[in-house]
């Protein structure tokens, strides 16, 4: 559970470059959520999530962030425990790879948490297999020799190996081709079986609509609201208010609906759309 109350954040306070990134943010992410955060560039999404594992510290008198039983606005939260609990995958995580073999790189996290060598090896093997790579084939290779998609998987494995209970993903599919995007999203669903809470920032409404159960919309440092996908993408007024684009499938459904077909306008996934079209065709 992550609970954010009245959180504000100011970059470079007391300089000419001062900018306020967050204004009075309140939200609650429950265990088991696939929580989406959307909003245009500069809305404060990354600043918000970097509070969740104390990479950005809560400023004085600027609200509270609570992760399970840990108060991150306290002076010295137990960072080791926090970072083992909250895994953070940044944009282009493959840029953080550094070690000479894939296995060593994935072991970096568990090693920092003080796992024994055997544990490290077991965790790394598990994580590499979970992200869909062949452990025997890649473990001893240099991460820099791998393809872009494989590198991203290795980087993901590096975070998964720490066995987090909450996984935060900042645009996990940025810069990948459509097939790569789909593979990574399917991978995240697989990961969710072992790491029950997932928080994802994304600009891709298709991903948000088909995977998230709750969505926070941010704009200029504020949270406009937290909705279920059907609430958000089913209501045109809300979409216009939040300045959010429709996912592709919802857009198709809406157009068909406008054209007179008997199709619901709040369709969120491809399967739903196919079913609806099939039904409509049969009906006609």
């Amino acid at each position: 559970m992550i609970s954010v109350q009245k959180l504000s954040y100011v970059y470079s306070p007391k300089t000419p470059f001062t900018t306020q990134a967050l204004f009075d943010v309140n939200m609650r992410i429950e265990d088991g959520d696939f929580f989406g955060i959307i909003g245009s560039t500069g809305a404060g999404k990354s600043t918000l999530v970097s509070h969740f594992n104390a990479l950005t510290r809560v400023q004085k008198n600027s609200g509270t962030v609570i992760v399970d039983d840990m108060d991150l606005s306290a002076k010295k939260p137990d960072l080791n425990r926090l970072r083992a609990k909250v895994g953070m995958v940044f944009q282009y995580p493959e840029h953080q790879l550094f070690d000479d073999t894939v296995e060593k790189d994935v072991r970096f996290g568990p090693k920092n948490l003080g796992a024994s060598a055997d544990e490290q090896r077991a965790l790394a093997k598990q994580a590499i297999e979970l992200v869909g790579l062949d452990y025997g084939a890649v473990a001893e290779r240099s991460p820099f020799e791998l393809s872009g998609g494989q590198k991203r998987r290795v980087a993901l494995a590096g975070v998964i190996a720490m066995k987090p209970q909450i996984l935060i993903l900042d645009e996990p599919t940025a810069g990948l081709d459509p097939v790569g995007k789909r593979e990574i999203m399917e991978l995240i669903v697989r990961i969710k079986a072992v790491c029950p809470t997932v928080v994802m920032i994304s600009h891709n409404m298709d991903e948000i609509a088909s995977y998230c159960n709750r969505i926070a919309v941010m704009s200029r440092g504020r949270v406009i609201g937290v909705f279920t996908p059907r609430e958000l993408f089913g209501s045109r007024e809300l979409l216009a208010d939040c300045d959010v684009k429709l996912p592709l499938v919802t857009e198709i459904a809406a157009r068909l609906c406008d054209g007179g077909a008997e199709i619901a306008h709040d369709i969120l996934t491809e399967d739903e759309l196919l079913d609806a079209i099939e039904k409509a065709v049969k009906h006609a």
Binding site: R83, A84, F90, P93, F108, G109, G158, V159, M162
Partner: protein
């Protein structure tokens, strides 16, 4: 990582900010020479007055300028103390003595002057970087060095390398921050007191940083190539440097200050009041 002082430009619209960077560089060079000609407390005070005047005109908060002293304060203290306790005055009698250490009145004077000189030497360059963007400085330098082109000295290339380097400093800092955060999220610790451990802890940051720097350099070279960049020949600038009456006046004023300092130092005409002032 955010306290790195290169590229510390403080945006404002004062006359010091608007001044032509070439003239600022010339004045800076003159100033640096001047500082070494200062000898008496009066000449130091005289020069300091003009430094304070320039700081006031620049409308940069004085504390920002003084912050430039932060990195040399330890050097200043150490040199001043060493100067004070080892200064030997052949004529005078020491004020105090402990073994090989001794303090003379002239030693105290000399060490105060030394500290003053060091601080002046840092203050003006700090002000220069606070009031001019790195690009302006590079353009100014390129323009000042352009006579060397006659000698086939690659002035343009040098300026280009410098401006690319300066331009990428903030990018690299940002990148370092990002990678450090990514590794911190994986439990890395950078706060160790042991220097060897600290270096080892930096490896997971340095290697990705190198990789991305090479990638960035490659991309930049491709981008320049695809825009037909072929070096200095026949290249025009988007922002031509223009100087104004004020710039010339400023150089004249500082030249006058320079002459005054020289007079205070050498007293060519044997004026008595200078002899009185010159401690």
């Amino acid at each position: 990582m955010r306290d790195v002082t290169i590229g510390q430009y403080y945006p404002s619209n004062s006359i010091v900010h608007r001044a032509d960077p070439r003239f600022k560089l010339v004045i800076m060079l003159m100033f640096l020479v001047m500082v070494f000609f200062c000898d008496s407390f009066f000449s130091f005070g005289f020069l300091t007055f003009f430094v304070i005047l320039t700081i006031a005109l620049s409308r940069v908060p004085p504390l920002k300028v003084l912050k430039g002293l932060k990195m040399i304060i330890i050097v200043v203290i150490i040199t001043t103390v060493l100067m004070m306790i080892f200064y030997t005055d052949g004529d005078g009698k020491p004020l105090a003595e402990w073994g090989i250490f001794h303090i003379y009145l002239n030693g105290i004077y000399a060490s105060i002057k030394l500290a003053w000189r060091l601080m002046l030497l840092v203050l003006m360059p700090t002000l220069l970087t606070l009031t001019s963007t790195p690009t302006e400085l590079c353009d100014g330098l390129e323009s000042l060095l352009s006579p060397l082109k006659k000698l086939r000295f690659p002035v343009h290339e040098l300026a280009l390398i410098m401006s690319i380097a300066l331009r990428l400093v903030p990018t690299l800092i940002e990148e370092t921050d990002k990678i450090m955060n990514a590794q911190k999220a994986r439990g890395a610790k950078f706060e160790s007191k042991n220097p060897f451990k600290k270096i080892k802890a930096m490896l997971p940051v340095l290697i990705p940083l190198f990789v991305s720097s090479f990638r960035r350099a490659d991309d930049l070279a491709d981008a320049m190539d695809s825009r037909c960049y072929r070096g200095a020949k026949g290249r025009t600038r988007m922002n031509k440097l223009h100087f104004h009456v004020g710039d010339v006046l400023a150089v004249l004023l500082w030249s006058a200050v320079f002459v005054c300092i020289l007079f205070l130092n050498y007293n060519w005409l044997g004026w008595e009041f200078i002899a009185v002032l010159g401690v």
